[in-house]
């Protein structure tokens, strides 16, 4: 494990670089600081998870990366260019999935290809083929014509993931995508997420993922690195390298290394978590 400054010094090929990012809300006279002085390099192809107690500004960080919110201080760059607003190269998966209720599974997944730049240069047949392939990838074959309200939570989550994948963004920004699911479904979908991300493939073929979660074991299981934030205001507390071997599976979840990492991260946020829960 390293602290932020060392990471900055050693990594030169950052995909996304956050330097001194801060975000305040509310009146200028009495601002509420959500995120303070956050510096972080996100490496290309890495699975980065962000954990922290509630109030640590996790979602704010993700929204800034998505371009939906502008930092109050600091700079954010993607491939060296400043981030100004959303872009199709950064796909977002929202915590509530944000599926379009009036679109079928197929319509939701193809939405970005039909209406956004992701489908530019593709023929109708190529778009259809892309949608069909992603539907197969996430295991939604047979449900193409259903509406979101007809699907279970796990299925909706798959639709949201498929919609994200269909646009083939370079960077996947995911905000607690599994939070609303029951424990069994979560475990299944964690495995699936890693498979879809490409944990069996060489690292160069993987997409960059920034993944917010409040679950420490989920963060450790999925990640190459876990970013631990502290709360009120959200500040970088630790960055933990997760050197558990890939591909990861149930054996990983049972291993001592996994338990130790979870315990170590828990120790660094437990005090704040208690404070947040008890007050």
């Amino acid at each position: 494990m390293t602290d932020a400054r060392m990471t900055d010094a050693t990594m030169t090929d950052a995909k996304i670089r956050l330097s001194g990012i801060g975000k305040s809300f509310g009146a200028p006279a009495a601002p509420v600081v959500a995120v303070q002085d956050l510096s972080l390099d996100i490496r290309p192809g890495e699975f980065l998870t962000i954990v922290g107690p509630s109030g640590c500004g996790k979602t704010t960080v993700l929204n800034m990366l998505a371009g939906l919110e502008t930092p109050t201080t600091g700079t954010m760059t993607l491939d060296g260019r400043p981030i100004r607003g959303p872009g199709a190269e950064r796909g977002v998966m929202f915590q509530d999935y944000a599926l379009f209720p009036w679109k079928t599974v197929r319509g939701n997944i193809g939405f970005g290809l039909v209406h956004g730049p992701a489908g530019a240069g593709l023929s109708a047949a190529e778009r259809e083929e892309r949608v069909r392939r992603v539907i197969e990838l996430v295991g939604l074959t047979g449900s193409e014509e259903k509406y979101p309200h007809q699907l279970s939570g796990g299925m909706r989550q798959r639709v949201a993931l498929a919609r994200l994948m269909a646009n083939e963004p370079q960077i996947l920004l995911m905000d607690e995508p599994l939070a609303a699911l029951d424990a069994q479904t979560r475990i299944i979908l964690q495995d699936e997420l890693l498979r879809i991300w490409g944990q069996d493939k060489p690292a160069a073929q993987r997409r960059t993922v920034v993944y917010i979660t409040h679950s420490i074991d989920e963060a450790v299981f999925l990640a190459d690195r876990v970013v631990v934030l502290s709360s009120h205001p959200g500040r970088l507390k630790r960055i933990v390298e997760i050197d558990l071997p890939r591909p990861r599976d149930d054996a990983t979840r049972l291993s001592k290394g996994f338990a130790d990492l979870c315990q170590s991260i828990w120790q660094s946020i437990r005090e704040e978590a208690y404070r947040a829960t008890m007050t």
Partner: protein
């Protein structure tokens, strides 16, 4: 079968009681005389013509209201500045019943179809507007953001996200608006120029029965017809809505 019988029991008893209680008076309408009058008015063509005239005015007024209220509601719902400035105006007109505008409308538009359509449009305008505004404001913000992060342009987002997301609320507003329009047409036609037969619409027929022929059976026939048409309008619109927005069907 038994449930149906139970449901029908009370209305049948009420009709019987009405028939018996009113049989003492020569002029009081009774179910039997009302049915006779309805048959005569249908046979003469007055009742169908009257209903058709009124329905046409309602549809014209309703269409006018929709064309104005839906775009305005979308703008008011999505641009805070516009809403802040227009809301006081809307809220100060809204409590003014359509019928209260009648004197002005007659002065401006005369006593023909135009005036009746204007009254209907005014009445239907507000429920459509207010539901459209509410529908736009209640859109799940992440839906717009999702399209935004997919790189979808602002105008396209309006068309492919905002409009369909608000559509269920807009259609509910239109359903309420149509009901209000049908109510308003009767009132409007009471004051719109007298015409023989059904040419003046159902409201005008009622007025003629009341003011000239003192034909109570005819008035009751008109009332029942108005009620039945209102029910049919609402049911068919509800049916159409369920088809138009299958995703919001419970």
């Amino acid at each position: 079968m038994n449930r149906l019988a139970l449901k029908l029991l009370l209305p049948i008893l009420l009709l019987l009681a009405w028939e018996l209680l009113a049989s003492g008076s020569a002029r009081a309408p009774r179910p039997s005389t009302v049915v006779q009058a309805a048959a005569a008015m249908t046979a003469s063509g007055d009742l169908p013509t009257g209903l058709a005239t009124s329905l046409l005015r309602v549809f014209l007024g309703f269409a006018t209201a929709s064309v104005l209220a839906v775009p305005l509601g979308i703008v008011m719902g999505s641009v805070a500045v516009v809403e802040r400035n227009l809301d006081p105006l809307v809220e100060s007109f809204r409590p003014i019943a359509a019928i209260a505008l009648l004197p002005l409308i007659i002065l401006w538009l005369g006593t023909g179809t135009q005036a009746a359509v204007a009254i209907v449009a005014y009445a239907a305008f507000f429920p459509i507007l207010i539901n459209t505004i509410a529908g736009v404001k209640r859109i799940e913000p992440n839906l717009m953001r999702a399209a935004y992060t997919m790189g979808v342009g602002a105008l396209t987002r309006m068309r492919v996200v905002l409009l369909p997301a608000a559509l269920p609320a807009i259609l509910i507003g239109m359903r309420i608006g149509l009901g209000v329009a049908w109510t308003a047409i009767i009132a409007a036609e009471l004051a719109v120029g007298a015409k023989a037969g059904g040419q003046g619409g159902i409201g005008q027929m009622m007025f003629v029965f009341y003011a000239y022929s003192v034909e109570l059976n005819g008035i009751v026939v008109c009332m029942v017809a108005v009620g039945i048409v209102a029910l049919l309008l609402d049911r068919s619109l509800r049916f159409a809505l369920a088809r138009a927005v299958p995703w919001s069907a419970p």
